[in-house]
Symmetry: C2
Subunit: 227 residues, 2 copies
């Protein structure tokens, strides 16, 4: 009896599917961090299903994640993909991540889309130029990419100059925005934005954020791989 109850309890946990290994330069930046962070803020235990790059293109995984990306999410009969949608799904069920009123919920989603559709594309373009493209070898192209990043960061610096979070309290939108901005940590870019630096430190200091990042990084630690 006890065994059966434990099994059922495990089955009812949400499952995050993500990579068991990634190159060092993206460790800490894979999007399962966002989902782990949201679940930690919600106080929701979860389990993790680790896949390899070879698994991305299997019909089995494509049925779960049409583009073969990570993370994917399963909870009971529900399967979800896209980190923004998964975080929103988790946030919708807990006051810890979203206001209760309709207007507050719509504003939270506005900032979630802002993070992923207005800020992330220009940040990723610069990141890729610096890590997988010509980098400093094409200074004009880099300056153009940087200009677009700066335009977004200027707006965010102004927005956050008199408030701690994107809304009047911490929400799921801060999880997305902070994880997007954090990927600029390798560069000189954030040095010009003291308000955003303080915002990132404020977000990163949250116990749920620390735990989520630690558990994400533990996957890549040698001893974890051989445990």
């Amino acid at each position: 009896m006890t065994t059966i109850e434990l099994d059922r309890s495990v089955l009812q946990l949400p499952v995050i599917t993500t990579f068991g290994w990634v190159p060092e330069m993206v460790q800490g930046l894979v999007r399962d961090v966002r989902v782990r962070w949201a679940l930690e803020e919600a106080g929701q235990p979860y389990s993790v299903n680790l896949i390899s790059g070879a698994d991305q293109n299997t019909p089995h995984y494509r049925a779960l994640q049409p583009f073969g990306q990570v993370p994917a999410y399963q909870h009971g009969a529900l399967t979800l993909f896209e980190s923004g949608a998964i975080v929103h799904h988790i946030a919708s069920a807990t006051p810890a991540l979203m206001p209760d009123d309709g207007a507050g919920r719509s504003r939270t989603l506005a900032w979630m889309f802002a993070a992923l559709n207005s800020v992330e594309p220009v940040v990723v373009a610069l990141w890729e130029h610096d890590h997988m493209g010509p980098g400093a070898a094409q200074p004009e192209r880099r300056a153009a990419l940087l200009k677009r990043v700066n335009a977004r960061l200027d707006a965010l610096e102004a927005e956050l100059s008199d408030q701690n979070y994107l809304l009047d309290r911490f929400t799921a939108a801060d999880i997305l925005m902070a994880t997007v901005l954090r990927s600029l940590g390798y560069s000189e870019v954030l040095a010009g934005y003291p308000v955003l630096q303080a915002y990132l430190e404020r977000c990163a200091a949250r116990p749920a954020a620390r735990k989520a990042l630690a558990e994400h990084m533990a996957v890549f630690a040698p001893k974890a791989q051989h445990a």
Copy 2:
């Protein structure tokens, strides 16, 4: 009395703020089309507030739209930005654009984020390369951008091969995905994707889509500008 009632009725209409003029190459592609389409599907009348590029950076407009982009949305006391969030807000209030059940709503949002975070960034990168960048003058760079677009379109072609829409019915996610894919219409890219071409035709043939696009384009017609 009648006059007062009419005024109040107008005040209660949602207001879309968008550009009164854009270059011909982006006419039809500005993101207010998405919001107009969603409102037409919902049977919701609306009014339009036209701004110029100079208005984008005023403190007044930045209070409404932190990045100075269009569209912005106002309905009563609620102000919203990001086309994805505005369309979701409209969709949440009508069965015409989203299933009723929680899982269906979460899946709709997953495809909305897929359109704007997984597909649009690579489509926009190719579009910008061809319209505002080196285009065919940098064939290797273009091939790399095209490869990323094709990877997304391959997945969508498979997804839609046995269904008319992204979910088992038309939803707000189709508004976003169709408007993203439609911006490839200038290029050779869609020729290799018969399923996606049929999907785009199916979406574009919807009366709400036709009306939304016609009203968007009417803003740029010479006679409208002098009406």
